[in-house]
Symmetry: C2
Subunit: 178 residues, 2 copies
């Protein structure tokens, strides 16, 4: 046992759950290590730096989120309005609250261009745009632009829900899109 790669995977998995629950902004190695039953010393033994660990955690969480997205949104191609409404319904689920909060934390940390956050945020959103493109109906011409717009709307929903203005959203965007 004790393959190094396996240890790294275990740490990333545990750290991901911890980050979703406790937040990214104030993440620090010692409390994280305590929750994982180890020490900061060991985290930095398996990862060269906190940033490297964070980068891997964010990559794992991005994959997780993408899987949730794929599993919760109808597989057929739909118009922009339907896609946005489906994402809205997904974000309204209580168990998605902390993931949504984490997304916002990531965007906030990335806002000044600081890595590893900026890289992770950019690839997360680019992923979403790619994914939206595969789910949109209508003419292929301009589909990418519509995907970008859809993701923008979804991000807006994320923001409003996160600050507690979610109830005002009820159908507001659906009626606006065509």
């Amino acid at each position: 046992m004790g393959d190094r790669e396996e240890q790294r995977r275990l740490i990333v998995a545990g750290a991901s759950a911890y980050v979703v629950a406790e937040g990214l902004t104030k993440l620090s190695l010692r409390p994280l290590a305590a929750r994982l039953g180890t020490s900061d010393r060991m985290l930095l033994y398996y990862f060269d730096s906190k940033d490297e660990l964070v980068a891997e955690v964010l990559q794992a969480l991005s994959a997780d989120l993408r899987a949730v997205l794929a599993a919760s949104i109808p597989a057929r191609r739909v118009p922009v309005r339907t896609l946005v409404e489906a994402a809205d319904a997904l974000l309204a689920r209580p168990e998605m609250r902390s993931s949504a909060a984490l997304c916002l934390e990531l965007l906030g940390l990335a806002a000044r261009g600081a890595d590893p956050y900026a890289t992770a945020a950019r690839s997360l959103l680019a992923d979403w745009i790619d994914w939206a493109e595969t789910r949109l109906s209508g003419p292929p011409r301009g589909r990418r632009a519509r995907a970008v717009g859809a993701v923008a709307c979804i991000e807006g929903i994320l923001v409003l829900r996160a600050v507690g203005l979610g109830e005002r959203l009820r159908g507001a965007l659906g009626g606006l899109l065509r």
Copy 2:
């Protein structure tokens, strides 16, 4: 000179500029005080805590931003699409970059409900919704809902621009809204 309220105003003004330039997430009293030509000791003499200072700074910046918004967006009532496009054009201006980044930082810090950030973020967005409502044309019936949707779109634009995906936005949202 020396009126206490006047000193507080001076500090808030200086701190606001500093926060816009340097960011909110890693704001700390000592470097801020150094920039203002004073000491952390004095900041905490005029404000009971860092949180109180931050709350006042965010309030001031919210007012500033609202003034910029009022000055840069056509005063007449317009449809949602036009309003969103105008906000997009405003956010595209280089001198708005750090303000936009600051908004995202604020949202990220507010995401877990921690004050003073959460309160400031909520009131900022509520302000924007109110403002959008005064600028929207069309039937008063449902105008508020359209204002919420418009703000959601604008927040989405903010997010995409902040992570460097702004160029993909070119007209993507305008074509989507009716």
